[in-house]
Symmetry: C2
Subunit: 140 residues, 2 copies
Amino acid sequence: MSEELAAKLREQGYRLTPQRQLVLRAVEKLGHATPDEVLAEVHAQSSAVNVSTIYRTLEVLEELGLVRHAHLSDRAPTYHSVTDHEHFHLVCRNCHKVVSVDPEVVAPLADRLMREQRFVIDVGHLAVFGRCTDCDEHGG
Amino acid sequence: MSEELAAKLREQGYRLTPQRQLVLRAVEKLGHATPDEVLAEVHAQSSAVNVSTIYRTLEVLEELGLVRHAHLSDRAPTYHSVTDHEHFHLVCRNCHKVVSVDPEVVAPLADRLMREQRFVIDVGHLAVFGRCTDCDEHGG
DNA sequence: CTTGTTGCAAACTTTTTGCATACAC
DNA sequence: GTGTATGCAAAAAGTTTGCAACAAG
């Protein structure tokens, strides 16, 4: 797990640092997290790590393909690990609950857009907004 | 056109102001625009209008259902008029081109999410990221 | 040692807020 | 007139950058 990180880093001439391990672990643990939340989680381990390091590290991790981000709210972007299986997100605009869904569900749409629009979907980045049943039933 | 605005505003106890007319017109003219771009367009008409008015007005217009926003970039949200037919967006992560697509194309996915996840998609807010053919062919 | 990485502080961008004034109704 | 809407200026939120000190390889 940390070996994959080390390998991918070296491959690009980057170095393995404690900060980078901490950030990756935080993202994996949190599931879906904003840079702010990642910072908080990292701080639980080591309070010396700086915000700018979080941003720089998330950028590197994304470049290495270990992490992805999507815009699940009107505020900060949300990062998630890619070591789990790929997935996309349903976001309830009322209660802000996030559900992860298997890419297979969008496959037909992806195929159609590929054929008709000649456009290749980036499923990992996909965020679908709407309203979940809980919120539809009880008002809001 | 401006009558619809006036009517909807009054319906909610809001007032019709030149600023609100200008902002709505700007969004309609621009097609897809960030608050910043809306401000610029409005300023072309009347340079006295303030940024905060743009934000407050976009919020009101969205509440009235005259305007919608989606996150088409990593930066500011993009607003578009709803007086046109509803649509969703394909965004190329390489060249940032935006293509509007008919909601009918996502209908099967919407149906499936409704059935399996009991989730009602907000198609107007949907932004699908990926790569367009132009960018796939010529590198990038 | 060499060069990438970090912490810090400051700048920047985007959005929000408080308040006095102005204006729609 | 009454109360909403606006402009202004300042604050908040999120992100980026320059630079000296530090540390991985």
